[in-house]
Symmetry: C2
Subunit: 150 residues, 2 copies
Amino acid sequence: MVKRVSFGHAPCPVARALDVIGDWWSLLIIRDAFDGVRRFSEFEASLGIAKGILASRLRNLTEHGILETAPASDRSAYREYLLTEKGRGLFLVIVALRQWGEDHLYRPGEPRSSLINTETNEPISRLELRTGDGLPLSWAGTRVKKVDAA
Amino acid sequence: MVKRVSFGHAPCPVARALDVIGDWWSLLIIRDAFDGVRRFSEFEASLGIAKGILASRLRNLTEHGILETAPASDRSAYREYLLTEKGRGLFLVIVALRQWGEDHLYRPGEPRSSLINTETNEPISRLELRTGDGLPLSWAGTRVKKVDAA
DNA sequence: ACAATCTGGTTCTATTTTAGAACTAGATCT
DNA sequence: AGATCTAGTTCTAAAATAGAACCAGATTGT
């Protein structure tokens, strides 16, 4: 056995996505980044992650163009990690995970964080998949078409 | 160091979700299940996963109520693994990952599978987050409210 | 200006997880 | 009945993770 199995060239976009961000920590780092966390030590404190793991994950996410480094906004000599456009594209992945977690992973009354519309201060509405006509579409109304050229 | 860090009691639903399905294989198993894969040997062949890992993942997903076993539909003595309602709730997580992968992980013209509306045979439309008024809502219009009771 | 502390790492070791091969009991096919 | 298939378990080697220790450069306090 060589290294971990790679899905980097799979024809399935889900597999490719998981090849990049499918480990235990990456999506939590990205969640924190959406939440305004920028500096190495902030990620470390927020996540309780070992420094070595954090360094390797930040490196990987940066290499994949999900994070980029920039001079720190407080004009110190340090750098900070920011989401790129590609990284911000993961917002709905985080939202979908959040809504599923809220639905299935809490006992009634257990405290939890929630995602709020800044304008209204109301919890955001549910993600939904819709047809071209705006009708709700569940997994049962879909299928995977094996492979085709883009 | 003891075991892998656990987020099973985190106040953040994203962390709890990743504690259950945040490894390299679980979401691929679930993707296959959405795609109609049911039997141990089918998952094994489809994923190229080691038997031991597959067995432990199926056990974990079953313990968490995402999969359940049922007598095989072909009336053999074997069992099959089916998504529960909780498991089907992960559909939008898969869709979000798929759309992000399609957007950012392929070079032009590279072959890929795609998700089709069974009725129309057209690719499904994009997931979007909307306000109560039906207006598009991006991550910039949201914030995480720390903790509250449900 | 100098010492103390903070930041963002790297390195080291122990433990855990993963990959893959070999093996197995029971079910099914011929 | 014998061969093969199914759904695993067990074994070993390699890789990843956790945590502690260490370190150079930046910053802060005096």
